[in-house]
């Protein structure tokens, strides 16, 4: 097997190890880190050039943010509008409260269509509900058609990025997977030849499998339109050749009007892949006689989204248009890659989305998988303040933890309660400063840094140094300065 990670980490947050544990496994894999860093450098360089060229970038971001907030504020009305327009145009709309219900609805639709095989366009939502293993267990053969998804499916690998899910796998690893699974012994590792192998492998599937599953980038309430943004043309194949099409879409993906695409499409391709526009964007509403699938279903998925909607600070998480700019810019993601996040949604957006979608207890460490540097907020095309949400989630983790039995006398919480008392008064604060300066003398080395602390302090110093306290506080220095002036 060619697992790019030498050890595998589950992407189901219920079973995944904590972020620090998983990150350690990834950090020990130099090949994976090299592959991730290379891919990210290429995307970042392309994105940078195209964002500078767009002189109204900040205005587009503001408009996109406002549109997405407006949708979330009025989500019920817009979803009902989408539903009625989609049905009027000949489509069917289904509502799924959770992952299990969505999987069952899709399986029932496949059974009605007598489908034993299904072709798929890359959709993170289907990965979220773990659709493929469920369908396969039910006897349906699932064929991914996006090049990266084929690499993952044939190589039995997991996605590590939401836009380029196989970025952790390099060309020689792809060659090995294709040669082994497609029986092509003489395949070279030239990306062009590898791409051609995938084209040939899939052509017959496109022409013969009569059922397809897709996600969607946007739903348009005004017109009942579904939008899919892609590069390869596998999406267009899946959207036009089969007789039955099922689109699984998160309830937050709706936009009010057709015209709103003028904002989103300008931001999405530039943010996601550093292109002015992705090669193919497909828009359709319901069914069109003589063109494409005549049996069309939209499955609207809640799966925790409505509870995110109810929370003031966290609601902005749902503005996300899944461009992955946040993970491409994140210094943490760059080092660990996506698998360390133990979820199909990695990177900064994953660090806030996963704990909320999958319940906080399954993702205790993800809100801490960030240095809070703010780069993700700066690049986000819909202005999600990810650091703000991370802090809010950290507060929730701590609140949950300190209420646990036996935590009352936990050294950390005891310390924090004492600190709370001391810092509440000025004299207490000053006394603590004096004590601290005396105490820290024992640990401060000649270079002015504290390299190791005992007991609970070691938790800090085992990974970083601490600057020793200065001889004077600012207050003392200021008082002396004022005295000197007189």
């Amino acid at each position: 097997m060619t697992h790019a990670g030498s050890a595998r980490v589950s992407l189901d947050p219920q079973f995944a190890p904590s972020f620090p544990q998983a990150a350690l496994i990834m950090l020990r894999n130099p090949q994976l880190r090299k592959n991730v860093a290379h891919a990210i450098d290429v995307i970042q360089a392309k994105r940078g050039k195209l964002v500078v060229e767009k002189t109204d970038w900040q205005e587009l971001r503001s408009a996109a943010s406002a549109i997405r907030f407006h949708v979330l504020d009025n989500l019920g009305a817009y979803l009902e509008q989408f539903e009625s327009r989609c049905i009027a145009a000949g489509g069917h709309v289904h509502w799924a409260s959770d992952a299990a219900q969505a999987r069952q609805i899709i399986l029932d639709l496949l059974r009605q269509a007598n489908a034993s095989e299904v072709i798929k366009i890359k959709t993170m939502t289907s990965a979220e509900i773990q659709l493929n293993p469920f369908l396969q267990a039910a006897g349906v053969s699932v064929y991914e058609t996006d090049l990266a998804e084929i690499i993952l499916q044939l190589g039995d690998e997991d996605p590590s990025h939401i836009v380029v899910p196989a970025l952790h796998i390099n060309r020689s690893q792809v060659r090995e997977i294709f040669a082994r699974t497609m029986g092509l012994k003489n395949l070279s590792d030239d990306p062009k030849e590898l791409t051609n192998a995938a084209r040939t492998y899939l052509r017959q599937k496109f022409l013969t499998v009569p059922t397809a599953i897709s996600g969607a980038n946007f739903l348009i309430a005004e017109t009942g339109t579904v939008a899919v943004v892609e590069s390869e043309g596998n999406g267009r194949m899946c959207l036009t050749l089969p007789r039955t099409l099922i689109s699984l879409v998160g309830i937050e993906k709706v936009l009010p009007r057709f015209q709103d695409l003028e904002v989103m499409l300008q931001l999405l391709a530039r943010s996601a892949v550093g292109e002015r526009m992705n090669p193919y964007t497909s828009l359709w509403s319901g069914v069109t006689p003589g063109d494409g699938p005549q049996n069309f279903h939209v499955v609207l998925l809640d799966n925790g989204r409505s509870s995110i909607l109810a929370k003031t600070k966290e609601r902005q998480t749902l503005k996300c248009i899944r461009c992955a700019a946040c993970m491409n810019t994140c210094p943490v993601y760059r080092q660990t890659g996506g698998h360390a996040y133990g979820s199909v949604y990695p990177g900064p957006i994953g660090a806030i989305l996963t704990p909320q979608l999958m319940q906080l207890k399954h993702a205790q460490t993800l809100p801490y998988a960030s240095s809070l540097c703010g780069a993700c907020y700066e690049v986000c095309p819909v202005k999600i303040n990810i650091p703000e949400v991370l802090l809010e989630l950290r507060a929730q983790v701590v609140n949950q933890e300190r209420r646990q039995a036996g935590r009352f006398f936990d050294l950390m919480y005891l310390g924090l309660r004492v600190a709370n008392l001391i810092f509440a008064t000025a004299w207490g604060f000053h006394a603590a400063q004096r004590m601290g300066r005396i105490g820290s003398r024992f640990f401060t080395r000649k270079d002015g840094w504290i390299h190791s602390l005992p007991s609970i302090g070691a938790k800090w110093t085992q990974t970083r140094d601490l600057r020793g306290l200065p001889k004077q506080t600012f207050h003392q220095w200021w008082a002396e300065r004022v005295k000197g002036e007189k």
């Binding site: 029932d108 990306p191 017109t223 015209q259 292109e275 828009l283 359709w284």
Partner: protein
């Protein structure tokens, strides 16, 4: 499985409970929508000439081949391109003007056309074609995008997807500078269905935006032209304004 109708109601109830500040009625919703900030650039500033040149430049950056001609030269230009393509089996949508359908009498021999009038021509027949020729609805210069609304001159969606070679005829009067200019030209969006009573008839229900040939960068971010869609995109820009 719980009844789907019940989960619809449950999800909507949860959403309503989560959004106490939602608009009370349609007019309040429309007002709130109208108040959204839109300070981005909507109208371009280039001259007609510069706009066409930008479109051509962007198309070439996507590795599309571009040639220019006048309306009078179009039939000749199509002939030249098809002859240069080295292909013989072509498809065209049902609304294709007769003068575009270059025949063997025109310098090239062995050219065969299939005109797509829908069924009984199926996907396998289209798959056999080596190339396709269609018109377009609009060109967006800023991103080098070709817009198809799949009218009778643009064909159903598979037509411009399965053949390996795509020759697209774009008139210069169809080219706008910015994406918002295209959307404002779409007075009636390409999404309305004839069966929808309160919406106008005749508007297309499908659209495809094409920016360069099919491509992928999934292997080490190396851009490869032509995965599943046409590998070769040729655009004839017809100067008509």
């Amino acid at each position: 499985m719980k009844q789907p109708v019940q989960s619809r109601q449950r999800i909507l109830d949860r959403i309503r409970a989560a959004t106490p500040t939602a608009a009370k009625d349609a007019s309040q919703l429309a007002d709130s929508y109208a108040a959204l900030p839109r300070a981005y650039i909507r109208r371009g500033s280039l001259s007609a000439q510069a706009r066409v040149e930008l479109m051509i430049q962007r198309l070439r950056e996507y590795d599309a081949e571009v040639v220019e001609c006048t309306s009078a030269e179009l039939a000749d230009a199509i002939t030249t391109q098809l002859a240069a393509s080295g292909r013989h089996l072509f498809v065209a949508p049902s609304g294709t003007p007769n003068e575009w359908l270059v025949t063997s009498a025109w310098k090239i021999t062995g050219l065969e056309w299939t005109i797509d009038h829908g069924l009984p021509i199926d996907e396998h027949e289209i798959e056999k074609a080596e190339g396709v020729v269609t018109a377009a609805t609009c060109g967006i210069a800023d991103s080098g995008t070709i817009v198809l609304h799949h009218s009778a001159t643009e064909g159903r969606r598979v037509l411009t997807l399965l053949p390996d070679y795509y020759l697209c005829i774009l008139r210069s009067s169809q080219i706008v500078e910015t994406l918002p200019e295209y959307f404002s030209r779409c007075q009636q969006p390409p999404a309305l269905h004839p069966s929808d009573k309160d919406l106008s008839l005749g508007t297309p229900s499908l659209a495809t935006y094409i920016s360069g040939p099919s491509a992928t960068a999934d292997i080490e971010m190396t851009r490869i032209k032509g995965v599943h869609g046409p590998r070769i995109l040729v655009v004839i820009v017809v100067r008509d304004n």
